[in-house]
Structure formats: C-alpha cells, structure tokens
C-alpha cells in the first residue's frame, strides 16, 4: 500500500480517458469496458494512496493537507463517474461519463501537485495537541465537519458544471443532428436537467454549512496563538463565491419559464467561476506554504483546521 504513488492512479485515469474516447469513436463496448477497468484500478490505487497518507499523518485525508483534500475531491468525482456509468448501463444505456469527468479528475490531481502537501510534518504535532485538550478536540471535529461539507459541496459544483456541459452538447446534437458525432451517446435532456437541478440544490446548502462551520472555527481559534482573520484572501474569495451561488440559486428558483439550455449555460458560467476561484485561491495562497500559517477557518481550505491545531500546539 505504501508503494502506491500519485503517478499510478494518474496514469490509470489517463489510460481510462483515452480508452473511453476510443470507445466512443469506434462504438466499441469492449474498449469501454477496458476503460472502466482502468478507472476502477485507478480508484483502488487512489484509495490505497489516501489511506496510506492518512495513516502516515495520523489524520483523515481531509485534514492532513490541501493536497490530500484535492485528491479526495478527485476520488469523489471518480466514484460518481463509476456509479453513474454502472447505473446507466444497468438500464441499457452506455454513456461515456468518463469523457467529461476524467479530465476534471486529472486536473484536480494535477492541481494537488501545485498546492502544499508539506503540512504532514506538522500533523503529528497537531495530533498531539488534539490529544491534549478538549478545545483542540473541538477544533479538530469542527475542522473535519468544515472540510467534509466543503468537499462534498464542491464535488456537487463540479458535477453540476459537467452535467451542464453535457446538456449543452446534447442540446446541440438534437438541434443539429449531423454536427455532433452520432457515436456520442448522452443521457436525455430531461435527465441532465433534473440531475443538474439536484446538484445545485444539494451543493448550495453544503457550501453554506461549510461557510457557517468556518465561522465557528474562527471563533474557536480566537484563543490560539494564530487566530484566523476574516481578511484572509481565501476567506474573502470564498465569501464572494458563496454570494455568487446565492445569486444563482435565487435566479434558478425564480425562473419558471427559462429554457433548459439557458439554465445549463448559466450553470456553466456560475459553477465554472466558483471552481476557478476556489482552485485558483488554493494554488495561489496555499501551494507554496510549507509551514502552517493561520489565515482563515472560513476559507475553502479544509486543511486550515489542521493549521489551527498546529498553532494551538505551539
């Protein structure tokens, strides 16, 4: 298990993506099954890697470092891809979900290489701190909740973003049947619209609760040596992203007669902006931080909680 490297599952996903593309071009179910096999193999390696990292840091992957947090996000995307592909194949539909999801997975794994993975050295100390006091334990629990809510919320945003792209592609295929290759089989517009709606409805409360637990973390960190600031760029950026989500949700709920394509296009813009902002902030403000530094518990970075713990230890 300890010998699994990021390259193992990254390479598996690259092969799975290439096979999925070939399967679409050649309409080959054998290639598609092989691609799914590689995706499963990648997922197994991915899981082993996260478990090994978690054991080494003595912390859940969501708290050990920003890098692991992004890898958890990628892991969730692969699980969604495989689950939906299996469910659709059970009802006789072969949909190349991986063609849309795997590029994002690869992007997340790539981004994880740019952000800080160096917090692991501080993690053992943080764990000691956790063992020491009730306040630190509370800090860790809230940190875990904060990170989980945000990671699931962002996974919902990624899925909504991709479903909207699929909607637009499917819509174009149906409006102009001979512009898009007939070999590309996608779920119906009704299914995509419904799933997209649910992704918005689920991810918004998760992100909101993630923000609220972040505020709680700020409160808990006030007695530590590195109190969290609301002026941290990650906090400010996350707040703006949340406001954007609120605006989008209000528009969505009030738009009774807006066409599905309009909803999909706006989802692409809104969710795309959310993802670019959150991942960009991660890379810009966290990627080169080797020493744990307090910025904000309300930020989109769940490893912040771990940093808070580190500060408490000091």
């Amino acid at each position: 298990m300890a010998n699994v490297h990021v390259f193992c599952f990254f390479a598996s996903y690259v092969v799975a993506l290439a096979l999925e593309g070939l399967a679409v071009a050649r309409r080959s179910t054998a290639l598609r099954s092989l691609g799914l096999g590689f995706a499963v193999a990648g997922l197994v390696a991915h899981t082993f890697y996260l478990v090994a990292r978690s054991s080494a840091a003595d912390l859940p992957p969501l708290l050990s470092s920003s890098r692991d947090w992004l890898l958890v996000l990628a892991w969730l995307a692969v699980v969604f891809d495989l689950t939906l592909s299996t469910m659709l194949s059970l009802v006789g539909r072969s949909v190349p979900m991986g063609l849309f999801l795997l590029p994002v997975v690869l992007l997340l794994i790539g981004a994880s290489d740019l952000v800080g993975g160096a917090t692991s050295a501080a993690m053992s100390g943080a764990t000691d701190a956790v063992r020491r006091g009730a306040e630190e334990r509370a800090l860790r629990s809230w940190g875990m909740l904060h990170a989980s809510l945000l990671v699931f919320g962002i996974a919902g945003v990624i899925i909504g973003f991709l479903l909207s792209i699929m909607y637009v592609v499917q819509h174009r295929r149906l409006k102009h049947p001979h512009d898009v290759p007939i070999t590309l089989s996608l779920p119906s517009l009704a299914t995509l619209a419904r799933l997209n709606w649910w992704s918005v409805i689920i991810s918004f409360p998760l992100l909101t609760l993630g923000m609220l637990t972040g505020i709680r973390l700020v409160y808990l960190s006030r007695h530590t040596q590195g109190p969290i600031s609301f002026s941290d760029p990650l906090v400010v950026g996350s707040g703006l992203v949340w406001l954007l989500m609120v605006g989008f949700l209000v528009w969505l709920l009030r738009s009774d007669h807006v066409g599905g394509k309009q909803v999909a296009l706006r989802t692409i813009w809104a969710f795309g902006l959310v993802l670019v902002t959150l991942l960009g902030l991660q890379v810009l403000f966290n990627g080169h931080t080797s020493a744990p530094v307090h910025r904000s518990a309300g930020s989109a970075d769940p490893s912040r909680a771990a940093e808070v713990e580190e500060a408490a230890r000091q």
């Binding site: 050649r26 309409r27 080959s28 179910t29 054998a30 099954s33 499917q170 819509h171 295929r173 149906l174 409006k175 049947p177 001979h178 007939i182 070999t183 996608l186 119906s188 517009l189 009704a190 299914t191 419904r194 009774d256 007669h257 066409g259 599905g260 394509k261 309009q262």
Partner: protein, 426 residues
C-alpha cells in the same frame, strides 16, 4: 463431426414458400420434434423457425451415419404437405464446419434481413430451449448452440454491428425522442393525419409507454379509426392550434400539398404553451411544418423525414463497416468450436498413450531401483526426471501430428494407426 443444417431464408426463398414451411405454433413444433425423433432416432435436432427463416439443425455422433439433404427435404415435404416440386431448390444444405459457421452467422445477425438486428439472438435461444424441452438435444447440439450464444455475445460486445437504429420510426423515437425525454408515459402525443408512417411511429411510442394520444385529422372518421386502434382520442381539425400548444410530441403525416403549420401559426401555439420541450416528427412529404419553426425557441426539436433518413443511413453504413470484424469473430469461434470438438475426440487416445508409457516407465524404474538399492533419494529423483523427459520427447512428434490433423477434422486414420502402433487399443 456430423452436423448438418437444411435451411431456407429471406435471401433465397420467397415469403409464400417460407410461410408454408414455417413451424408457426408451439404445438406444431412439438409435433415436428416427435416426428423427427421417430424418423431419425439416432440424431439430435434443433428447429429454428422465424418469419425470415426456417432451419433444421441435425447432429449425430461418429458411430451414426449423418442425415442427407433428401431425408430432411422429405421430412419437411411430408410434415407441411409441400410437394418436393414446390420445395425445388429452395432448401439449402450445409454440413460440418460450414453448418457450424452458418449457425454462428445467423446468431450474430450477419444473415438477418436488417443487419445486426437483435431479435434473432432471442429467437435462436428460444429454438434451443424448445428443442431441449422436447428432448431433441444432445451433446453436440448443446455445444453448438451454447457456442452460438457465445459468438453472438462477442459480436455484440466487440463490434458495433448492432449499434444504432436503422428504421425511420425507431430512429425518431429511440434516438431523438429518448434523448429529449426520460419517458413518454406522461407526455401528450398529438398525431396530425393518419398515414402509415404515423402508425408505425405510434407503435414505437406506445412501446415506450405513451398513452395520452390525440389524433387530429381533416376526416374525423379516419381520426376515430386510428385513435381507436391505439387507445387515443380523435379531435376535429379545427382544434389543431389548441393541441399544438398542449403537445409534448407531435407526429405529423398528412398528405397536404403545402405546410399546414407555418412559423406564425406555430409561434402562436408556443406562446400559448409554457415553453416546454416539444418533439416534432414531420413525416410528411411535402413537409407539414415550415422548417423555420425549429428556430422559434430552443425547446423546439423538429425533425423531417430527410433528417431521420440521414441518421438511418449513417447507422446502416456504420453497421456495414462492422461486417468484416464480425466475420473474423465468427471464423475464429468456428475454428475454436471445431478444435474443441476434435480435441474431445482425440483426448482419450492421448491420455491412453501417456498413461501406457508412464506405466512402462514406472515398472522399469521399480526394477532398476530394487536392483541398485544404494541409490539415494536425490539420485532416484534425477533418474526419474531423465526418464520422464525421454518419454515426453518420444511422445511429442506423434501427439503433435495428432493435434495438427485434429485441426482439419477428427483424424480417424491417425487415431487407429496410433492405437495399433502403441497397442493402446487392447
């Protein structure tokens, strides 16, 4: 290997004769199996009877004589009361590897009227099941039909022979309709006109669960007839605008010389609707809908016969491109099947040879070891291994020759020669 098939299909035999030769009911099939059993008691049989083909497969073990084309023709002639003259040259005949290949091609839908159509697999399975129920199968037909299922599965999964629909109505509903809606049970289907194409499309829509069907036609009487046939309601042509606004699916197939729904008319209908997606199949020639109606809003999905036909042609071309790959699989599987069968035939002689030689070695080694009892365990093992290698090297050429011959058919002559040369027949 004794496998034969007598068959007539859509490619060679007119429908009128196929109808006379068909085994239309289960009772008739049961009677056919009884007759076959009585007439050819040493033979295994499977009868495959569909609207496109009638085929009788027969197989016997090596000790029984194979059936002849005349015998099967005689059976068919007597059973169906069709004179041999009428049967003429319609009944084709294949035996041995060709018969196996034929079944594999049929099960893979390479011989079907609509290339790659999936029903034939179920029909082959059903024929095999009925044959089993009638105790007409044996080891050869079991292996043959199970092999056919395997080949069919391989062709389906490794090629795109069955991918994409190839009839206008199935493309319309299956490829376009199902890409817009999840289901049709809650959709209002409005049929304008009562043409044949509209009927075929309705059949597919009904299969997908559509039950709210409204037929609008200039002749209310024809509308009522069609509506009654499909469990819908008939409405006068004057209500067309109301139904255009309410419809989720519109199937239009009138014989009008001019478009009956122009942009202005359809714009008014869309304004009266809530902007929900509408799927329009304009199956009329000339068209019933002005093409520009598709651009009224993003939720209008309008397809005319030309667009649907183009998709059918594209799918058909895609299937044709897959024929070669499918044939390669059939060829591979035929060879594998024959090899397995022949291997089973030569298996006992190979085992006998090996066992016989091994016994001789063990006896001789026993004598040797009792004479030289100072040999330690390591030395004994070394001698045993050397003797085993000698035996394997000596046996290699005859066994290889046997395997090579088995690829071409059961090597009766060689098997007999080996038995006589090495006394294994005793």
């Amino acid at each position: 290997m004794n496998v034969q098939v007598a068959y007539c299909s859509h490619q060679t035999t007119p429908l009128a004769l196929r109808e006379r030769l068909a085994f239309a009911s289960l009772e008739q099939l049961t009677r056919a199996y009884e007759t076959l059993r009585a007439t050819f008691p040493k033979s295994e049989h499977v009868v495959l009877s569909t609207c496109n083909r009638v085929e009788i497969y027969a197989a016997q073990d090596e000790s029984n004589p194979p059936l002849t084309q005349e015998q099967v023709a005689d059976f068919l002639s007597r059973f169906h009361g069709v004179s041999q003259n009428d049967l003429g040259g319609a009944l084709l005949w294949q035996k041995g590897p060709e018969a196996v290949r034929h079944l594999f091609e049929v099960a893979s839908s390479l011989d079907s009227m609509v290339l790659g159509e999936p029903q034939i697999v179920s029909q082959v399975k059903e024929a095999y099941r009925v044959a089993q129920e009638n105790d007409a199968c044996g080891p050869l037909t079991h292996a043959l039909f199970q092999g056919a299922m395997r080949v069919s599965g391989r062709v389906r999964s490794e090629t795109a022979l069955a991918v994409g629909r190839v009839s206008v109505a199935s493309v319309a509903v299956g490829e376009f309709g199902k890409s817009i809606f999840d289901r049709f049970a809650d959709k209002t289907v409005v049929v304008i006109g009562a043409g044949e194409m509209a009927e075929e499309t309705l059949r597919y829509l009904k299969d997908e669960g559509a039950h709210s069907i409204v037929v609008v036609n200039r002749s209310l009487e024809r509308a009522e007839r069609l509506a009654a046939q499909w469990g819908g309601t008939a409405r006068p042509f004057e209500e067309l605008d109301t139904w255009l606004a309410q419809a989720d699916v519109i199937v239009s197939a009138t014989g009008a010389a001019e478009p009956i729904v122009d942009v202005k008319r359809f714009q008014a209908a869309r304004a009266a609707s809530d902007g929900k997606p509408v799927f329009i199949l304009d199956l009329a020639t000339p068209r019933d809908f002005a093409p520009a109606a598709a651009d009224i809003d993003e939720n209008v999905f309008l397809y005319d016969i030309e667009a649907l036909q183009a998709t059918c042609d594209q799918n058909r071309r895609q299937r044709v491109r897959e024929i070669e790959r499918a044939r390669r699989i059939v060829e591979e599987e035929t060879e594998r099947f024959l090899h397995d069968i022949y291997h089973k035939a030569t298996g006992p002689i190979i085992s006998q040879l090996r066992a016989g030689w091994r016994k001789v070695c063990q006896d001789e080694l026993g004598q040797l070891f009792s004479k030289y009892d100072r040999l330690d365990a390591e030395e004994r093992k070394g001698i045993e291994r050397t003797v085993e290698r000698i035996v394997n090297k000596l046996l290699h050429p005859p066994l290889e020759a046997l395997r090579d011959e088995a690829r071409k058919g059961t090597p009766h002559g060689l098997v007999e020669a080996l038995k006589r040369l090495f006394f294994t027949g005793q």
